[in-house]
Amino acid sequence: MTKLPTWADVVLVPLISLLLAAIVSAVVLLSIGQSPMEALSVMVEGSVGSAYAWGYTLYYATSFIFTGLAVTVAFHGSLFNIGGEGQAQLGGLGVALVCLALPWPHWTLALMAAMIGAAVFGAAWAAIPAWLQAKRGSHIVITTIMFNYIAAALLIYLLVNVLRPDGQMDPASARFPEGAKLPQFADIPLLQNLFAKYGPDGAVKLGKDGLAVYEQVPANVTFFIAVAACFAVWALMWRTRLGYEIRAFGKSEKAARYAGISPFKIIMVAMLISGALSGMMAINNVMGESERLLQNSAEGAGFIGIAVALMGRNHPAGVFLAAILFGILYQGGAELGLWTSIPIELRTVVQGLVILFTGALDQMVRMMLGVFFRPNRKGAA
């Protein structure tokens, strides 16, 4: 097989994979009698066509950045963490417990505490599979899958029997206090101007209190934390000794042992960081958006993190871009469900196809590309 130049491997392979996923999705749409072009335009318009659309897209992207980074960190340690979903749900529990514990005086304090809560709970949920892998060699893929289900059951129990306030019917925690409310984009000075509502006359709409009315979008300050997390993970992986050890361990466990890198330590630390990152996702959705803990709050973002990490080639910059892409896909898919007769499940299909082409059929894409990068050997033969 022809070896591709690095740039082709990093840029071209994901793009072609994406294209293939798009083509197969279009075929699926055509076969159920829908127009792919219409679907595409609804998705694009609804996800990037307005500030309002971006407000949703970036909200989803924020979650995906966290779960994508989580998968990335573990992946560098050659650990395939499929448990992002459960870790994110536990992270949500941590956020809820913190937020409900005190009548927080200011959101910044609540945010700090909730971040710790989310990270600790997420990491704790990753700790058991990590320990089992490190000490007993139990395959982390299987244990993390099992822990996703155990997490779901645990949360149902807690939401129904412990956290549900009296008199409430749906299995959810109480609302968080006002002081734990994170500023959303529409609450942030300057940024909010993008989300101003306009009346029919073109002027900014004013509310009863005489103040301008802004579109409520769920994107919130967590987005900036996610961006910071990208940078932090990059620095961790490529600028610190710990990152060096994780990467070395991931490439060769035997060599890592020779270098005095403790497999136990690396498996534990990499998984704890991974779990903490997954857990931190809950800041975005639980604290930033729903403001109470709902059942199944992670909504599959833990799994999407796998796709995001694969697309992003396990680099934080790539994860950031891939998360935005999946944010677009997710929000666009929701718009499809809202405004067309195409079921919202289309986005699940596209997600699956993207994972398939980037993660499992990448060799095929490389072989296809290899034809173009083959040295002139063929001409000579």
Partner: protein, 526 residues
């Protein structure tokens, strides 16, 4: 013979050619590596044909092509004079070829019987195949001294017995041509002798045997002809009787071999390393190192000789902090931890032990890391590589890499190149540079010149001597007796996890050491 391979084979009734095998113009590339280049070879029927060559010369590749495991890019194969296409192993088996690979291809949790019939079953049901195979196996083992328990699981067998199973597999398939790839590398001398007796018996039955080995002694003893490969090409085929080890070595390497190392007398100082009753168990609980004791003084090289797999690796790993051990290790009088979290490569390095591992690709390097990252490997916690307590100083590592690459003549001198893109010799130079430049009190060095070309061998040998002359203690492990004899100030021989005794290189000889390596007390023999 009792066995009747299903489907029959191509007619061997009237051999039209005196050659069992002829290869014409075989070429094979693995990506950028040209493993075989236009190889021609003729093997007369009923002979034992040796193939020698340095590591990576392409011997295994050539034989795998003959066995249909790889497909040649170009070239032709003639079996008994008939051009034969061998696109897969099934065709090779049908053509009467059997192969015992360097790395055995056995199913570990199957019985011997199951392994033997795999792929050569009589029909869709197993019962009849098993019954028949049991009988054939009994016949074969009587005929050729190849006894193994047919119901034993492979994972419970010794390597020697596993090899017998591989040979039985080939014979069960009625192979007339048997290829053995480095069969003695893993065997004890006794097992090796046994193997050669078997091969002799097979040859007497009219079978053709191709034997790949690194050991010139085996070539001289067992083969009729010998072919020499170098860097993917076939440089010569000669009658064994008309050649000598010296001439073969010269053909192999491409120039006169000069393994004499210039070194002055050792200026021995204080004891640096004390090892007492050191034992190591592997993960299956088998004791691989059985209570070894010795000392190394400053300015002294202790060479450990022995057949691979007799506990040398475990000794290095225990000293290097990789394997858990029991007993006592003291460096400059201070005991080092042998178990627990503190027993690791980091603390050993901090204590002043450097370690050039035997297997550079699996242990010494991260093949996907760039050269500069590999230069920090194991020393990534060193203070000079840190910018501040949090952040590593990548620029400093890079600069250090450039310096080391220049000193050790690493080619190409590009720090950003991944380790896997360097040739074996240059990979080794990177590891040696990293470990020696640390100025350790004790250097552990395993197979320092395995697969390394002559120029680099000389360079590395000089570095080892230079380090000794600076008053460092050095533990040298090598399977090459020449290397041990020329470098060491004292020689210890390891056999079956124990030290058979110490010898002075000035007064001992290869014969004595060879006997000790075979588990016999050399004293008695001299």
């Amino acid at each position: 013979m009792a066995a009747q391979a299903k489907g029959g084979r191509q007619a061997t009734a009237a051999p039209t050619s005196p050659y069992a095998i002829e290869l014409k113009g075989i070429s094979k590339a693995f990506g950028p590596v040209q493993a075989n280049k236009d190889i021609n070879i003729q093997v007369p029927r009923g002979t034992i044909h040796g193939i020698i060559g340095e590591n990576g010369a392409g011997k295994s590749t050539l034989m795998s092509i003959l066995y249909g495991f790889y497909r040649a890019d170009s070239g032709q194969i003639l079996i008994n004079g008939t051009p034969t296409a061998i696109p897969d192993s099934q065709s090779a088996i049908r053509a009467g070829i059997g192969m015992v690979f360097q790395h055995f291809k056995l199913v570990q949790n199957f019985t011997v019987l199951e392994n033997v019939i795999l792929g050569a079953e009589d029909g869709p049901m197993l019962n009849s195949s098993l019954t028949k195979a049991r009988k054939v196996l009994a016949d074969l083992s009587r005929e050729y001294e190849l006894d193994v328990n047919p119901d034993a699981l492979i994972e419970d067998l010794s390597v020697g017995h596993q090899q017998r199973v591989e040979i039985l597999k080939a014979l069960y398939r009625q192979a007339d041509i048997l290829i053995l790839d480095e069969p003695t590398g893993v065997l004890t001398p006794e097992e090796a002798d046994h193997l050669f007796r078997i091969l002799k018996g097979l040859k007497d039955q009219g079978k053709t045997i191709i034997l790949i080995t690194h050991k010139l002694r085996e070539i001289m003893e067992a083969t009729d002809h010998v072919s020499v490969m170098r860097r993917g090409t076939m440089v010569a085929t000669v009658k064994t009787a008309e050649s000598s080890p010296e001439s073969l070595a010269e053909l192999m390497v491409g120039r006169k071999v000069l393994l004499e190392v210039e070194k002055g007398p050792a200026k021995v100082g204080q004891t640096v390393l004390t090892v007492e009753n050191l034992s190591v168990k592997d993960e299956h609980g088998v004791v691989r190192l059985k209570g070894v004791s010795f000392e190394i003084k400053a300015g002294e090289i202790l060479g450990i000789a022995g057949v691979a797999g007799n506990g040398q690796s475990e000794l290095l790993e225990a000293l290097g902090g990789i394997a858990r051990a029991s007993g006592r290790i003291a460096l400059n009088g201070t005991n080092l931890p042998l178990t627990g979290a503190k027993a690791n490569g980091q603390t050993r390095r901090a204590a002043g032990i450097s370690h050039v591992p035997e297997d550079r690709q699996a242990l010494g390097l991260i093949m996907d890391f760039a050269a500069w990252e590999n230069v920090a490997f194991g020393y990534h916690n060193a203070p000079e590589y840190q910018k501040n307590p949090l952040i590593m100083d990548n620029a400093a590592i890079w600069a250090d890499t450039e310096k080391k690459m220049a000193t050790y003549d690493v080619r190409p001198p590009i720090p950003s190149l991944p380790a896997k893109s360097f040739s074996g010799g240059n990979q080794q130079k990177i590891v040696v540079a990293r470990e020696m430049e640390r100025n350790p009190d004790l250097l552990l060095i395993g197979q320092p010149t395995r697969g390394v070309d002559i120029g680099a061998i000389e360079f590395i040998h000089k570095q080892i001597i230079a380090l000794r002359d600076q008053g460092k203690a050095i533990l040298l492990v090598s399977v090459e007796l020449d290397e041990i004899m020329s470098l060491s100030d004292r020689i210890a021989v390891m056999f079956d996890g124990q030290l058979m005794g110490f010898r002075d290189p000035e007064t001992t000889n290869e014969r004595e050491l060879g006997l000790m390596m075979a588990g016999m007390n050399g004293k008695a023999a001299t």
